[in-house]
């Protein structure tokens, strides 16, 4: 009956291909399950969605653990890789997601939206982030970036009762799409220069196989890299593309802020390392000056702006900007050591930064104003455990030993000094010193200033307590015994080096 001669087209996608995206598939399927739960299960018992999300995240983590030794670096027609680098970031993202879910539980009760949708979006954004870490082609990177941003746009504008939340969600949306446009324009030009969207192929092309000579001098590549830097810088809220960050962080639901402050950066930096340090390694001289300027501006202005904030969420937003600068420094080392520092930094950052947001979130779910720093007076009396933990997080963020943040920063600085850019190290150290002031100010308010006499006690739900404990354990643990995790980070970067033959 057919009018066309049907020549068979073989679809070469097997179990190992899907296995490579196992964690993503688990979470993606959970998104669907959550939607069905939301649709069919009466609202009274919808706490189940919290549990479903947690179980799925644990399952995904187990799969990650399994994939660590069974990864496939060339799955699904080379679009996806589950090398150790991707897997490591998957782990970081899953851990952050677990913390965010634990934190959200008490938040959801007091908010106006359906838990199913909320968790579905949270997990969908996690899938996007993981795909971004695992993406082996520009196409996947773009798709994953949009998946995570789109979910976060909705989450940021989710609090329907508050116009501020919605407006910040929308602003985030506009600016982020604007940045995406730059990003894909850059991708398009790089595709034009190298003839491929696959990162490994681009890397090979730039190293002179299958491409004309001087391809690294191709102006298309040059402009493409510039535009991509703009796009990526927007997404990691590097100066001068950081304007949206404080507004959005302030307006979004706090558990979401905590989550996105870490994981968006983690995902984008994973892609950053893969693209710039490895795929575009041969064009190093093109992107280095651009990113150098961005990194310096980010460190200086991020910290200076943070100084001026009296709102905790805004302060943490600017502190996040500044940390982006430190991580950029590690990236600029353009060496395995630098990449390892980036990887390790995010592990540390996940615990300490989400931890710092927990305070805000817990106070909010207590019905107390959570984000003005002056409202933390006397927290030490009200809840010594929470105050103590927050002190640990802030110390760690400031880079004070013996916490995780110190070691992370140390690795970054060591890498950049080793790469011969001492000026960046000096700027990083000086700006870190500035940051100590604004972190310690919070601690001082919390611990030393007395609160009102009849202030009510600050309670935490069981899940929130678990989240805080886990974060504090991570922050301290990574600081005291970093070696094991450092080795994992080194292995993950080695995997990248093998994949790109560098």
């Amino acid at each position: 009956m057919s009018v066309l001669a049907a020549a068979t087209i073989h679809v070469r996608v097997g179990a190992s291909d899907w296995g490579a995206v196992g964690p993503e598939l688990i979470l993606g399927a959970t998104v669907l399950v959550l939607l069905l739960v939301d649709a069919f299960v009466p609202r009274r018992v919808r706490e189940v969605s919290t549990w479903i999300s947690l179980i799925a995240l644990v399952a995904a983590f187990l799969d990650v653990y399994f994939l660590w030794s069974h990864g496939d670096s060339n799955a699904l027609y080379g679009q996806i890789t589950s090398d150790k680098f991707a897997i490591f970031f998957d782990g970081v993202i899953i851990v952050s997601a677990v913390l965010a879910v634990l934190l959200s539980e008490s938040y959801i009760v007091s908010s106006s939206f359906d838990p199913g949708e909320y968790y579905a979006l949270l997990l969908a954004s996690a899938v996007g982030m993981m795909l971004m870490a695992a993406g082996n082609s520009l196409m996947i990177l773009f798709l994953a970036l949009e998946l995570l941003s789109l979910s976060l746009y909705i989450l940021a504008g989710f609090e329907r009762s508050s116009p501020r939340s919605q407006e910040s969600g929308f602003k985030y949306f506009l600016l982020s799409s604007f940045a995406s446009a730059f990003l894909i324009y850059g991708m398009a030009l790089i595709y034009g220069a190298t003839g491929s969207t696959q990162l490994v192929a681009i890397g090979h092309c730039l190293h002179g196989s299958g491409c004309p000579a001087n391809v690294t001098e191709n102006p298309l590549l040059l402009v493409g890299i510039g535009l991509m830097v703009v796009g990526f810088a927007f997404k990691i809220s590097a100066v001068p593309f950081h304007m949206w960050t404080p507004d959005v962080y302030e307006g979004a639901p706090t558990p979401i802020t905590a989550f996105m402050s870490v994981t968006t950066k983690a995902a984008v930096f994973a892609a950053f390392v893969r693209v710039f340090n490895f795929s575009l390694n041969a064009a190093h001289s093109h992107w280095f000056p651009l990113l150098w300027g961005v990194a310096v501006a980010t460190m200086i202005f991020g910290n200076l702006f943070a100084l001026a904030q009296s709102n905790m969420k805004r302060m943490l937003a600017y502190s996040g900007v500044a940390h982006g600068g430190y991580i950029l420094v590690a990236l600029l080392a353009n060496s395995p050591a630098g990449a390892t520092a980036v990887v390790f930094y995010f592990l540390a950052y996940a615990f300490m930064n989400i931890g710092a947001f927990m305070l805000v979130s817990i106070l909010e779910s207590n019905g107390q104003v959570g984000d003005d720093i002056s409202s933390y007076r006397g927290l030490w009396q009200r809840n010594p455990f929470l105050a103590g933990c927050t002190t640990v997080f802030l110390f760690s963020l400031a880079g004070i030993p013996p916490f995780a943040g110190f070691f992370a920063k140390y690795l970054a600085l060591a890498a950049i000094v080793q790469a011969g850019h001492t000026e960046l190290a000096i700027i990083a150290v000086l700006t870190s010193l500035i940051s100590v002031y604004y972190y310690l100010r919070v601690v001082v308010v919390m611990v030393l200033q007395p609160g009102e006499v009849q202030a009510q006690e600050t309670r935490m739900s069981g899940m929130a307590e678990m989240a805080v404990t886990a974060s504090v354990a991570g922050t301290i643990g990574l600081g005291i015994i970093p070696t094991g995790f450092y080795n994992l980070a080194t292995q993950s970067v080695d995997a990248l080096r093998t994949a790109f033959g560098i």
């Binding site: 009956m1 057919s2 009018v3 049907a6």
Partner: protein
């Protein structure tokens, strides 16, 4: 150069003929509708102008042309004027790839009986049909009248809702035929005897027919034009020739949908029983017979349009959306999945 002139001349002739044909069929479709509705409601229908009222469409056209053009105060003039033109433009463009008969030879070259034969085939058609909403949305918005706006929104929401099922039904046909080309689909239907797709795809046929009715805002889906509730829908503020263009677009769309049904489901220009009892594709007059069959089948489907208008009561708007999204769409998906399963296994 010769080739270029040949192509241009051929397309020019075809375009003019097609537009003429479509407008003539618009005129006589209104006539036929009034006559048939009259019969069905025990009335005469138009019978004053010319024998049996046959010149009625001409009279109507003349009247519409000479009517005063009322342009209300607050309309956005440019959009207001462009909207009906968009409607008619889209309606005319959609017909371009429908083959009304078998190819023929003229001046030493095989020529097709469609204006164009493009690689993407039906995709072109679907793309053009999807532009149909613009005439309505823009017309209703530029009128600055809340009845228009609401009517326009309703019409366009209805159109896009049913467009999905229409598209899915069409894809099921493409899956069966394995080609997007309308001529290929006609060929596929007549390859082995008479395997017309309304036999192989009865559900698809039904879906397409219903979707087609809704796409054209015809009864029983003509609620957006319900006189009682919304005055006249999106074209409330239009008069004379401008109104006539909307009117014409609706009827030309009906003709296009009928022609599509003929092509996709009723075997195109091939006659009933052809290939089984006899085979006239090789006869010298095959082209004429083909066109005849094509017109006959399309006319039969057009009759269905009118018949249903006389028979079925109008749906309420909530019923209409309910039907489109909760019945038609799932059925269309299911139909497609089953068809695809069958095709993928053979």
């Amino acid at each position: 150069m010769r080739d270029a002139i040949d192509i241009i001349a051929e397309s020019l002739i075809k375009s003019v003929v097609a537009i003429g044909f479509l407008f003539a069929s618009f005129g006589y479709l209104t006539y036929a509708e009034r006559k048939i509705l009259g019969r069905m409601q025990s009335r005469y229908g138009p019978n004053r102008v010319g024998p049996f009222g046959l010149l009625q469409p001409l009279a109507d056209g003349l009247k519409l042309l000479l009517k005063e053009q009322v342009t209300p105060r607050e309309v956005k003039t440019f959009v207001y004027l462009a909207a009906p033109a968009i409607s008619i433009f889209v309606a005319l463009m959609a017909f371009a790839i429908v083959p009304v008969g078998p190819p023929f030879f003229l001046f030493g070259k095989e020529r097709i009986m469609a204006i164009a034969n493009v690689n993407i085939g039906l995709l072109y058609l679907v793309a053009i049909l999807s532009l149909g909403v613009y005439g309505i949305v823009l017309g209703s918005w530029s009128s600055a009248n809340r009845y228009s706006l609401l009517g326009g929104l309703r019409s366009s929401a209805q159109m896009i809702s049913y467009e999905l099922s229409l598209g899915l039904a069409l894809i099921a046909v493409v899956v069966l035929a394995g080609t997007l080309s309308p001529m290929g689909i006609v060929a596929a239907q007549n390859q082995t005897g008479m395997s017309w797709f309304f036999l192989l795809q009865p559900i698809g046929f039904l879906l397409f027919a219903i979707g087609g009715f809704a796409e054209t805002n015809r009864a029983p889906f003509d609620l957006a034009e319900a006189e009682q509730e919304l005055v006249a829908g999106y074209h409330t503020e239009y008069a004379g020739m401008r109104f006539a263009l909307y009117f014409a677009a609706e009827y030309i769309n009906m003709v296009t949908i009928s022609a599509l049904v003929t092509t996709l489901f009723l075997g195109g220009w091939v006659g009933i029983g052809n290939g089984i009892f006899f085979n006239i594709t090789s006869a010298p007059w095959a082209q004429l017979i083909g066109v005849f069959w094509f017109l006959f089948k399309s006319a039969a489907f057009l009759f269905l349009y009118i018949w249903i208008r006389a028979t079925l009561p109008r749906l309420r708007y909530d019923q209409l959306m309910w039907f489109g999204w909760k019945i038609l769409l799932p059925v269309a998906v299911l139909n497609l999945v089953v068809t695809a399963l069958y095709v993928s296994l053979i």
